[in-house]
Each structure stands twice: as structure tokens, then as C-alpha cells.
């Protein structure tokens, strides 16, 4: 804990030092950024933009995880489907995010659905690839056990399949959240009238570095909160049966 605090203090010190060396216009001091943050919070813009971004992240993330898991599972279980879908997956994995975003806006207009859809499609192939590995690693011995005791499909899914896929889902969630966050900002920068990406874009046009930093740090804070309050407890719950290392 002490090391963490010392490390953080060192970061703030380096920032302050850099600010006085480079000048406040290029790198505003921590205090100036805090002022900018409070200003945004008072006007209500901060909450509005954060909420708009959060809603887009949640929507895109949900769509990507749901479809990605289903497709990945099917590819892991069926060799034929895997062979058919694999070239598509490779294509999608290597298509630049920017191309997907611009095409979505060109084809479907500057709409919310196009924005969320573009982000989801960017995240989808990564989820598919991760869950495909998970489905390939499913233990056939447990499958047989379920068959011998005539588990119905729901019981099988809940007690045999999902617990085995849990580490893969957690990995997809981890990489997914950070990826979706970043791409949502680009989508907002290009074609949305609100959100953190939009706010940062506006600040850039005004060369308001303090506001860019304020939003950036806020963003990190929300990320951390989601990680510690949501992802980690869920992971702990899912792995409670594992014998913990001393």
C-alpha cells in the first residue's frame, strides 16, 4: 500500500515538474486539471458525457459478448462450422477499427445504432476467438457424466458448460472492456453530439489541454471502479471452488 501511494505521489511530482518545464499551455499542472474537472462537473457536462459514453459501452459490450460467445462456442464445438467461419473471423480480426466505424456511419448514417453496432463489431472477433478456445477445452468426461445422468440442456449449460467457460468469459470481459472504451471514444469523436469522445474532440479544437486531461483521468477512474467493483468480485465468485495458493 505504501509503495502504491509513494508511486502515485512520484507521478504527481513528475507531472508538476513537467508542467513547469514545458509551460502550462502544453501540460497544465495537476491543480489546473482538477479545476477544469470541477468546472465540467458543476456545469453538468461531465455527468452527461460520462453517462452517454457509459451507456454506449454497456450496449456495445453486451451485444459483442452475447453474439461473440454464441458464435465462439459453436465454432469450438463444430469442426465444420469452424472451417466455414474461420476466414470471416480472420477478416474481421484484421479489419481496422476506423474502417468499420466509417463504413457503419456511411451505410447507416450518423445514428446511435450505427455507433454502437460499429463498436460491437470491433469487439466481436476477439470474443469469438477467446470463447472458441474455451469451447475446445471443454472436458468430454464431464459431458459424458451429464449424458449418463440425463441432464437437461439447461442444467448442462448452467452446471457443466458455463463454469468451464468462466475464465474465458472473464478474459473476454477484461480485454473487451478496455477495447470497447477506447473505440467508443473514437466513434463519439467522429459522429456523436455527446459523450467523452465528443467532449475531448471539442477541447482539442479549443486547444484546452486541461479539459482533455480531466476527461482522460475521469475515464481511468470509472474504468478502475468497474474493474474493482464488478469484474473482480464476479471473478472471485466464479473461482471460489479453486484451492487458493498460499
Amino acid at each position: 500500500m505504501i509503495w502504491r501511494i509513494a508511486s502515485l505521489a512520484g507521478f504527481l511530482l513528475a507531472w508538476q515538474l513537467g508542467s513547469s518545464l514545458a509551460g502550462a499551455a502544453i501540460l497544465p499542472s495537476p491543480a489546473a486539471v482538477l479545476m477544469a474537472l470541477l468546472e465540467e462537473a458543476r456545469s453538468g457536462a461531465l455527468a452527461l458525457n460520462l453517462l452517454a459514453t457509459l451507456a454506449r459501452v454497456a450496449a456495445a459490450f453486451t451485444v459483442a459478448i452475447l453474439f461473440g460467445s454464441a458464435i465462439g462456442y459453436a465454432m469450438g464445438r463444430s469442426a465444420t462450422f469452424d472451417r466455414v467461419a474461420d476466414p470471416w473471423l480472420i477478416l474481421l480480426l484484421n479489419l481496422p477499427a476506423l474502417v468499420i466505424i466509417l463504413l457503419a456511419y456511411v451505410w447507416f448514417g450518423l445514428t446511435e445504432a450505427a455507433a454502437v453496432g460499429a463498436v460491437a463489431i470491433n469487439k466481436l472477433p476477439n470474443t469469438v476467438a477467446t470463447l472458441r478456445e474455451g469451447a475446445r477445452a471443454l472436458d468430454p468426461a464431464l459431458d459424458e457424466m451429464g449424458q449418463a445422468f440425463t441432464f437437461d440442456p439447461l442444467t448442462r449449460a448452467r452446471h457443466i458448460v458455463v463454469p468451464q467457460l468462466a475464465p474465458y468469459l472473464a478474459a473476454a470481459t477484461r480485454t473487451g472492456l478496455s477495447l470497447v472504451w477506447k473505440i467508443v471514444l473514437v466513434v463519439e469523436l467522429i459522429g456523436r453530439p455527446n459523450g467523452v469522445g465528443f467532449a475531448i474532440g471539442t477541447a482539442f479544437q479549443l486547444f484546452d489541454v486541461a479539459r482533455i486531461l480531466a476527461y482522460g483521468l475521469c475515464f481511468v477512474a470509472v474504468m478502475l471502479a468497474i474493474e474493482t467493483c464488478l469484474v473482480q468480485p464476479l471473478e472471485r465468485h466464479a473461482s471460489r471452488w479453486r484451492i487458493r495458493k498460499a
Binding site: A141, H159, I160
Partner: protein
């Protein structure tokens, strides 16, 4: 059967037998003789065979060679998932009979192999099976532990009068526990003997058991 490399191999041939209701039968043979495969065919887990399996029974209890418990569910949850209709008053005596009373809330990873096997046995009995299939349930347990589990298992089998098929390579174990022994041998494996042991289990002395074991052994020697 198809091997991992995709080669086809004939494992079993000319197998034909019927089990009487409530009968406890052992399927004996050297390792690799296809006993487990036969059990899987009977359980409907292996469809790659020619022939016919008729099971008038509805519910199947299966004790696999490895316990095959769900590591992410407790002992009690493992049993309840397989037997959702089982009430607390059904399970309580079952857990106690198998010495699992203290371990209901434990995860399988926290159990010794002996206890994990017991949990697997509890699961198989909890479904109130009409046919119980046991695949080497005592293998790799030490002698005392194996004996103990054998006694508990036989007590449960006798109480529930369930038709049971026990796969084992241990001839003494078979001679001690069952009423009928089917011997498989050769490649592909065929039935080389089918003998009844009429003396009740409780009255079998050590000399009787070893004489039966000799008889089982001799059937394998004369045919091979």
C-alpha cells in the same frame, strides 16, 4: 471403436447376456479388454457398435473410474444436480452411510480420492437407479479404504435391490462381492465364462473366495 488417430478397431465381439432384476454381476477381464467400452455402450454413451441393448430400466446410475464430479459445485450440489427430485430425507441417510456427512459443503478439490469416489457413489444412488453401472470404483485406493468402500457400497446395493454391473480387473474383489461373474478375454474381447456364485456374500470365507478366484482364473487360462 475409433482411435485418436482415426483408425477403426474392433474391441468387443459376440457379447450376449441378460441381467436378472436385482442381480449383482461383475464384468471381469484384463485391462484394455473393452470392459469400459461395454459399460459405455450399455449406458448409451457410445453408439459406435453393431448390436442391440435393451434396458427396461428408466434411470441409470453411473460411477465412473475417475469420480467425475463438477469441481465448481459442492458435494451436496453435485448430488442434487444429478438427482433434483431427491428430498433431504433421501439424501441424509445416503450421505451418512458413505461417511460424507461432514463433507456436504466441501468442493471436490478439497476431498481425497476416497471421499470423491464416495461422493460419486452417493450421486449414483441418489437418482434411485434401476440399473447401476460401476466402472472400477475401487481402483487406486489403498487396501483398507477399498474394503471399507466395498462394504458400504454392497450395503447400499442390498438395501436398494438395484440391478448392478461392476467392472473390475480384480478377481478377488469380484469373488467377494458379486453373485455372477462374466469373464471377457481375447482381442477382440469375447465372453469366455459366465459363472454364478450362489453362496451368500456374508458366508463367503477367505478360502472360498480364493477358490472362486482360482476358478475364474482357470476359465481365462483354458481359453487363451
Amino acid at each position: 471403436m475409433r482411435s485418436a488417430a482415426g483408425e477403426r478397431k474392433e474391441i468387443l465381439a459376440d457379447i450376449r447376456f441378460a441381467l436378472a432384476p436385482g442381480e449383482v454381476t461383475a464384468l471381469v477381464g484384463p485391462s484394455g479388454s473393452g470392459k469400459t467400452t461395454l459399460l459405455k455402450i450399455i449406458a448409451g454413451l457410445d453408439h459406435d457398435f453393431e448390436g442391440e441393448v435393451t434396458i427396461p430400466a428408466e434411470r441409470l446410475g453411473f460411477v465412473f473410474q475417475e469420480p467425475r464430479l463438477l469441481p465448481w459445485r459442492t458435494v451436496e450440489e453435485n448430488v442434487r444436480i444429478a438427482a433434483p427430485q431427491a428430498s433431504n430425507s433421501d439424501l441424509e441417510p445416503l450421505f451418512n452411510a458413505l461417511g460424507l456427512g461432514q463433507h456436504r459443503r466441501h468442493f471436490p478439490g478439497e476431498l481425497s480420492l476416497g471421499l470423491a469416489r464416495r461422493a460419486a457413489v452417493a450421486r449414483a444412488f441418489a437418482v434411485r437407479p434401476d440399473l447401476l453401472l460401476l466402472d472400477e470404483p475401487f481402483v487406486s485406493l489403498d487396501e483398507t479404504l477399498a474394503r471399507q468402500l466395498q462394504e458400504e457400497l454392497i450395503a447400499l446395493v442390498e438395501r436398494s435391490c438395484v440391478t448392478s454391473l461392476l467392472v473390475t480387473h480384480d478377481i478377488l474383489e469380484a469373488a467377494r462381492l458379486v453373485e455372477r461373474v462374466i469373464v471377457l478375454d481375447g482381442r477382440p474381447a469375447r465372453m469366455v465364462a459366465d459363472l454364478a456364485i450362489e453362496k451368500p456374500r456374508a458366508q463367503r470365507s477367505a478360502t472360498f473366495v480364493s477358490s472362486i478366484a482360482d476358478r475364474i482364473r482357470s476359465t481365462r487360462l483354458t481359453t487363451s
